[in-house]
């Protein structure tokens, strides 16, 4: 079953044998054997919650409490901290960004390994010039003295990648590293990864973008339900093959919605629900005019940092536009805060799960918070909350299927479903989704597409803001393209493809 792309006689760089890991009695990994060879890029795929991140966190010394053996270059090790793993040459970029927003770019690149002068003082000059060099080879031209938090999120992600790639680590683990990157940036990253591979280092690459996996990996491993299903050379396999192993047979139709072309069809005669005129906000976006009709999904596509994120926040009253007006159902509205936006019938799911969810609270409290005012006036009704949440947990097939679980124990994709579930009980008029399928597996993406389409068919106006062409293409009835804060293109009633979208942006 296992085929190795390289000479099987040499010792693998990393061997994981019989790894099992459970969280509070729930198994996340079951008896997994995983092998990583020197000089390979190893793609890792699997549904949300399959155990990919858990496995990698064991390798990177984040989870120290597990069963099984770990061998590096044939020698057994057991890390007691991420620091141990780093010392052993293992670097990991986590699924959620973990940069220090208040430090400079240079400090972030050299986090934990600042160059020091003979006197033991941080050598700022060589740190800054070193950072500049490294970033340049990734195609990033920023002043290393810039504060990290001031940069667009795509750049932050690239810089975090740079930190690990140039740390000298022999094993580099990238957990969904492209979620905030634009297609050209992804290409750049892949070029760099190929260079790293050529130097004999090993890379693990986790992604839900199967096309990316197939184009960059030498070997692919599929996880399902805490088990390693198969490890295979990338030669001779395709998307359908992967999906079948990730989810099981009978889901071949899933891939259709993400490839090829789609034909947009607007629905005339529907009333305009939300109309924005000449909106502008600082340097983020200027003169944005558009409307969205009932029963329509409007896609707004643009590279990370083109102003689409700020635009989405404006629609939910989180940001106040400097200029322009917003009308809902023909009435001009000034949204001064999110409470007013919600009252006006607008719902919003931000791209960053962390800013939408309460990690320590059970799922049902996460779901009910946005509708608490409708469930209860004064006294809480936990039973009603649980019942509502359980309904959504079932209809969105959230796993584990219990509304009592703390949200932090869910895998990334399942957390995203909870974020969506918040707005499904009392239907808003306008649903604004920012990156609604980021980090979701193909099956979950398909679920979200179905959910959002069903909402549209019920007459909801939906705005989908995304930097992933696939997301926009699989959902939108009409597409606006944003570039540097302006709307530069509108696609209606025509057939478009990923390439045409990219061209416009």
């Amino acid at each position: 079953m296992t085929t190795d792309p390289l000479d099987p006689s040499d010792t693998p760089r990393l061997q994981m044998q019989g790894i099992s890991k459970s969280f509070g009695g729930v198994a996340a990994l079951r008896d997994v054997d995983f092998t990583l060879r020197a000089g390979e890029i190893h793609g890792l795929v699997g549904e949300n919650g399959a155990g990919k991140s858990t496995m990698m966190k064991i390798i990177a010394g984040v989870h120290t409490d597990y069963e099984g053996k770990m061998l590096i270059d044939g020698k057994e090790v057991h890390f007691r901290s991420a620091r141990d793993a780093l010392a052993a040459g293992i670097g990991m970029v986590h699924q959620e960004l973990s940069i220090m927003p208040d430090l400079t770019v240079g400090e972030n690149v050299f986090l934990g390994k600042q160059p020091v002068t003979g006197a033991g003082i941080i050598d700022w000059r060589s740190m800054m010039s070193g950072a500049h060099e490294q970033l340049k080879s990734l195609g990033i031209d920023v002043d290393p003295k810039t504060r990290m938090g001031d940069l667009p999120i795509g750049l932050q992600q690239l810089i975090e990648l740079a930190r690990v790639i140039f740390s000298g680590a022999r094993i580099i683990i990238l957990d969904e590293p492209t979620s905030a990157l634009s297609p050209p940036e992804v290409q750049l990253l892949f070029d760099v990864l190929k260079g790293v591979r050529a130097s004999g280092r090993s890379i693990v690459f986790i992604s839900h973008f199967l096309d990316d996996i197939l184009s960059i990996s030498d070997t692919v491993t599929v996880f399902r339900n805490g088990k390693l299903i198969v490890t295979h050379s990338v030669e001779g396999i395709d998307k359908g093959w992967l999906i079948e192993r990730m989810i099981g047979a009978g889901h071949e139709d899933l891939e259709e919605s993400y490839t090829g072309t789609i034909t947009l069809a607007s629905k005339p005669g529907q009333p305009v629900v939300l109309a924005a005129e000449h909106l502008g906000y600082g340097r983020a976006y200027t003169d944005v005019t558009f409307d969205v009709k009932a029963g329509e999904i409007l896609g707004i596509y643009g590279f990370m940092g083109c102003g689409q994120i700020e635009l989405a926040r404006t629609l939910f009253g989180k940001i106040k536009a400097d200029t322009g007006t917003l009308a809902i159902d023909g009435r001009k509205r000034r949204l001064r805060n999110t409470t007013q936006a919600r009252a006006a019938g607008i719902a919003f799911v931000p791209e960053n799960r962390r800013s939408m969810l309460f990690y320590e609270q059970p799922v049902y409290k996460n779901v009910s918070i946005s509708i608490l005012g409708r469930i209860s006036r004064l006294w809480l009704k936990p039973n009603v909350e649980r019942a509502i949440a359980s309904k959504h947990v079932e209809s969105l097939s959230i796993r584990p299927p219990r509304a009592e679980v703390a949200l932090g124990a869910l895998s990334g994709g399942n957390q995203q479903k909870v974020a969506l579930a918040k707005w499904l009980t009392h239907r808003p008029k306008v649903l604004v989704l920012s990156e609604p399928t980021r980090g979701m597996d193909v099956g979950a993406k398909d679920d979200v597409v179905k959910i959002v389409r069903a909402l549209r068919d019920e007459g909801l106006a939906v705005i989908v803001v995304s930097a992933e062409p696939e997301t926009v293409l699989s959902l939108a009835d009409r597409v606006l393209v944003m570039k540097k804060g302006r709307i530069v293109r509108e696609f209606t009633n025509e057939t478009i493809s990923k390439d045409r979208l990219l061209e416009a942006a």
């Binding site: 989870h63 057991h78 007691r80 986590h94 959620e96 409470t339 320590e360 809480l380 124990a409």
Partner: protein, 342 residues
């Protein structure tokens, strides 16, 4: 490289539970240990009379601590509790007829009106705190630091270095009398604890407090009016402090400048020692009750044993430090778990 061999370093399930409950267990264990220690060290400590003493002693702190629990659960702080208590206590005395030898230019009004004016005063101060923190955006730490000074200023202006003794009957009934041998001030505390607990646990407002403290941004993205909740918590805290000040004045039998100075530290300590997270979102009135008991037993117990009275101050400080370490340590465990859960 030498790493620990693959072996059984596995934490058992029960230790995992203990770790997650550390926040609640540590203060409780501290309380039990203190009780055992003082019971052995002093025969006069473990008596019914002394228990009633302790209860009375923690009452004023306790009423403040209830309000402060709301604020700290939101991840904010109120440094003006003692100062507002002092000012409110003085306001109620200022509007009450004093003996002729009291040299204060006061304005006697009917008892109920005096109480209403005092309540209005503390509500007003709370509203200023709320306005400064939420509308202007001054960090609560700084805003309430300024309010601490303002409260002291109001107190100073009203009494001008004098001492007032009389308060309205209703206030002295609540603060300085007994029903069936039980001090009424302790009943007031119990009522506040109960209402505070019910509000935080069973009402929508209480849920919002925890959610705002747990993740403010997420609360905002869920359409919760975060500023309103924060403001309300600050006003509630000021009103609790004001009432603590009024019954406190009755309890001590006098109203004067700097009367409540020691109470700021005690009230914050009670909340934090009890295990409510300084970062917000975790804890509650249950924790505050344990914290109050720890503090009350400690303060009272140290008076029962033969020990240098100057050393007592140091001991209290050390215990407070230990509690803070536990509080922050538990927070760290939590954020590590959260990172692992990402």
């Amino acid at each position: 490289m030498t790493f620990q061999q693959t072996s059984t370093a596995r934490a058992s399930k029960s230790s995992l539970f203990l770790r997650s409950q550390m926040r609640n267990i540590a203060p409780f264990a501290t309380l039990i240990l203190l009780l055992i220690f003082f019971s052995i060290a002093s025969p006069s400590f473990a008596t019914i009379d002394n228990a009633s003493n302790i209860l009375t002693q923690i009452s004023v702190t306790g009423i403040m601590a209830v309000g402060l629990t709301f604020v700290i659960l939101c991840g904010e702080i109120d440094l003006s509790v003692a100062s507002i208590a002092n000012a409110t206590g003085i306001v109620v005395a200022y509007f009450t007829l004093q003996e002729s030898y009291v040299n204060i230019a006061n304005i006697p009004v009917a008892g109920w009106l005096a109480v209403a004016l005092a309540l209005a005063a503390c509500t007003g101060l709370g509203l200023v705190n709320a306005f400064g923190t939420t509308v202007i955006g001054i960090p609560s730490f700084i805003m309430t630091l300024a309010m601490m000074q303002i409260g002291a200023g109001i107190s100073a202006l009203l009494v001008r270095g004098q001492i007032a003794y009389n308060v309205p009957d209703i206030v002295s009934t609540l603060g300085a009398s007994n029903v069936g041998g039980f001090p009424t001030i302790a009943l007031v505390l119990l009522a506040f604890l109960l209402v505070g607990h019910v509000t935080l646990t069973y009402t929508r407002f209480g849920r919002y407090i925890y959610m705002v403290g747990g993740n403010r941004e997420a609360a905002e993205y869920s359409g919760v009016n975060v500023k309103l909740i924060l403001g309300a918590a600050l006003v509630i805290c000021a009103v609790c402090s004001g009432i603590a000040g009024m019954v406190g004045v009755a309890h001590f039998g006098s109203a004067q400048q700097n009367e409540f100075d020691g109470y700021l530290l005690d009230a914050i300590a009670a909340v934090v020692v009890g295990g409510t997270s300084l970062f917000g979102g975790r804890g509650g009135i249950g924790n505050t009750i344990v914290g109050l008991c720890v503090l009350g037993v400690l303060n009272n117990g140290l008076d029962h044993i033969q020990i240098d009275s100057f050393l007592k101050i140091l001991i209290r400080g050390l215990i407070l430090l230990a509690a803070l370490i536990v509080n922050v340590y538990v927070q760290n465990i939590r954020s590590v778990e959260r990172a692992e859960g990402a």
